[in-house]
């Protein structure tokens, strides 16, 4: 499903910083993987490459047997839309749109009609248990509710993989567990999830923990 071979990534910012040093990784369909590592180990960089938000220097990355390399912005946008769902630490909802409009936005970029996409969005909000908040703005919602909206948004296009970057980083422990339960149930329905976290309790709820150390895979352990 996800196939990374010998991925190298450097940031040139005055001095060159070699972040990923020939990283190899396989993630199978339906897995729930947690990526852990010290700050600066390259875990966020890895996630950004997986999400086609960032580019890599050398190596190959296959997502669903498609080579993700040197894509034009247009094609990258298309793949992000169809193949990947994002859940961010800071939610990244559009502040002037209601919950249902936020969830429906990826469908807007697929060209789905307004009525149809709002219907689908409502379905996913309902699944997340926040259908009553559909017409509220993000600023009127709690952190947990916002993250549920974000998860609904990531699911709405039925992507191949959900990439979650510290999804519980901004939440208290009770809400964090709720959000993790949601991700687990999404995973049980067959969705592949890759989550970056530095919280061992959250990582323990995944099936597999991958530790990144100095730009390569340090260890892989099954939970």
């Amino acid at each position: 499903m996800i196939k990374l071979d010998n991925i190298n990534k450097s940031y040139v910012n005055g001095t060159s910083l070699h972040v990923l040093k020939g990283l190899n990784l396989r993630i199978e369909k339906g897995e729930f993987v947690a990526i852990m590592g010290a700050s600066g180990s390259g875990k966020s960089t890895l996630l950004n490459i997986l999400g086609i938000l960032d580019t890599y220097d050398t190596g190959t990355y296959y997502l669903n047997d498609i080579l993700i390399k040197d894509l034009s912005e247009k094609v990258a946008a298309e793949y992000r839309n169809r193949l990947i769902g994002f859940v961010f630490q800071s939610f990244n909802l559009i502040s002037f749109k209601t919950a249902v409009e936020n969830v429906a936005l990826p469908l807007y970029y697929q060209g789905v009609g307004r009525k149809k996409r709002n219907e689908i969005a409502m379905e996913y909000l309902d699944k997340m248990g926040i259908a009553d908040w559909a017409d509220h703005l993000p600023s009127e919602m709690s952190g947990g509710q916002k993250q549920r909206v974000a998860i609904a948004r990531s699911l709405v296009t039925s992507p191949q993989v959900i990439l979650a970057d510290e999804p519980t980083g901004a939440l208290d422990s009770t809400t964090s567990i709720e959000v993790m339960e949601i991700l687990k149930s999404v995973n049980r329905e067959g969705m592949t999830i890759v989550m970056v976290t530095h919280d061992p309790d959250m990582a323990a709820m995944a099936q597999k923990i991958i530790r990144i150390k100095d730009g390569i895979i340090g260890s892989i352990e099954k939970v």
Binding site: G51, L53, D54, E73, A77, R82, F86, F88, S95, F96
Partner: protein
């Protein structure tokens, strides 16, 4: 398309201050432009009205008596103008566009019913309108038939008509001038500066009735063309006009009392300078306002795009193509600038109309006292529309450049952007 508009409408509605600021800078630019241009045009029209007859380059010549002996001819000889003088001078001097001979009868009374007006009578030929600031407002001017048949027809000044006829239609009526009756064929208006405006009759008629002794015309006027040079050129023209006349009438060109001569070139030139200055002033106002407007709209678009960098990052992460984001920005910009540009245009036109209503119209019959400084403020609709388009395009360009930059940022950087 409907979806895109919906998307924009929701973004505009949720960002009221930003929408208002962008729109306001657009509307304000157009509004100020129209009001200033309108006021500038009003000023120019007002001054142009005051200048009236000075806005023509004409010269006039009156006959006198010689003061210098010339080729054996005595001092004190009377110079007489006749019908051959005009054609001769026009042939000799290509700058003369038209000439007109006049005979003026002073001390006449024009009588109609129980009313009378003391007004000089001007016997004039067909070229009179070319060398005089006047226009027919009713009926017709004197024509060739009048001249050929020495008809007793008369063209009256508007003020004379107002006094004599008191609202009655003057055309076809007969007025009596020193015991000779004339039919009124037209009414004219000039710059209204004369205390006693002329009444016009055909030159041939005037000659026959008032000048049986053939004493010659008492004035010769010329309309001068293509003489926009400096003072030296005009002095040269004056000199050659006088020497040609001296050659024909046999007097010394240096003789200043053989003919009296006046050229309006100085006044005309000054008036042209003032109008040129005002026109330049209006242009500077217009272009300056437009530039201020462009800067304003560009600024706000720049800030708008900057402020939305993170939003664009989010949109890109969920699958928005760069082109769709640029389209979003540009359509939004177009909608705001077009709508508010229209509002500014509407309000500006309204203010110009109010100015137009409030400025005093020059009152007929008040003569010298009716100086105006402001008249008919108006703006050319074509200029207004092109200015609006310029501002809209400026807004689009000002939106496009940062938008292009914003969509080039990697989504990951845009997402981090606060």
């Amino acid at each position: 398309m409907f979806d895109l508009l919906n998307e924009i409408a929701s973004s505009l509605k949720k960002n009221k201050l930003r929408t208002f600021l962008t729109g306001f800078s657009m509307a304000w630019g157009i509004f100020i432009l129209i009001v200033l241009l309108g006021a500038g045009n009003g000023l120019r029209n007002g001054i142009q009205y005051n200048y009236g007859s000075s806005n023509m380059n004409v010269s006039q010549m009156w006959p006198g008596r010689t003061s210098i002996a010339y080729q054996g001819l005595q001092v004190g000889r009377r110079i007489k103008f006749d019908a051959t003088d005009g054609p001769y001078l026009q042939k000799e001097l290509p700058n003369i566009g038209a000439y007109s001979a006049k005979n003026t009868i002073y001390g006449a009374n024009i009588v109609y019913g129980n009313e009378y007006v003391a007004a000089p009578i001007q016997g004039c030929d067909l070229n009179y309108t070319k060398i005089t600031y006047m226009h027919i407002i009713k009926g017709r001017n004197i024509n060739q038939m009048d001249m050929d048949q020495t008809r007793k027809v008369i063209v009256l000044h508007k003020r004379t008509v107002d006094i004599l006829f008191k609202g009655e239609d003057p055309l076809g009526k007969y007025v009596v001038v020193n015991k000779v009756s004339y039919q009124v064929v037209g009414v004219y208006m000039d710059d209204d500066m004369a205390q006693r405006p002329f009444a016009l009759i055909p030159l041939s008629t005037a000659d026959k009735i008032y000048n049986p002794a053939k004493r010659g015309y008492n004035e010769l006027g010329f309309y001068i063309e293509d003489l926009k040079g400096n003072m030296d050129d005009i002095n040269e023209f004056d000199l050659s006009l006088k020497s040609k006349m001296g050659h024909k009438k046999q007097f010394d060109p240096k003789d200043n009392s053989a003919v009296y001569y006046y050229n309006t070139w100085k006044d005309y030139n000054q008036a042209q300078g003032i109008f040129g200055g005002i026109t330049l002033f209006i242009w500077i106002i217009g272009v300056g306002t437009l530039i201020a407007g462009i800067v304003g709209i560009s600024n706000i678009m720049l800030i708008t795009v900057k402020e939305r960098t993170k939003e664009f990052g989010i949109r890109k992460s969920i699958g928005a193509r760069p082109s769709s984001i640029i389209k979003l920005i540009l359509t939004e910009c177009l909608m705001i600038t077009a709508c508010f540009g229209y509002v500014g245009m509407f309000l500006g036109m309204g203010v110009v109309e109010v100015m137009n209503m409030m400025t005093a119209k020059p009152t007929v019959g008040a003569s010298q006292d009716s100086m105006v400084t402001f008249l008919n403020p108006s703006v050319d609709l074509g200029i207004v529309i092109s200015a609006t388009i310029v501002l809209i395009v400026a807004g689009l360009v000002a939106g496009y450049i940062p938008a292009k930059k914003a969509v080039k940022i990697k989504p990951i950087e845009a997402l981090r952007y606060e």
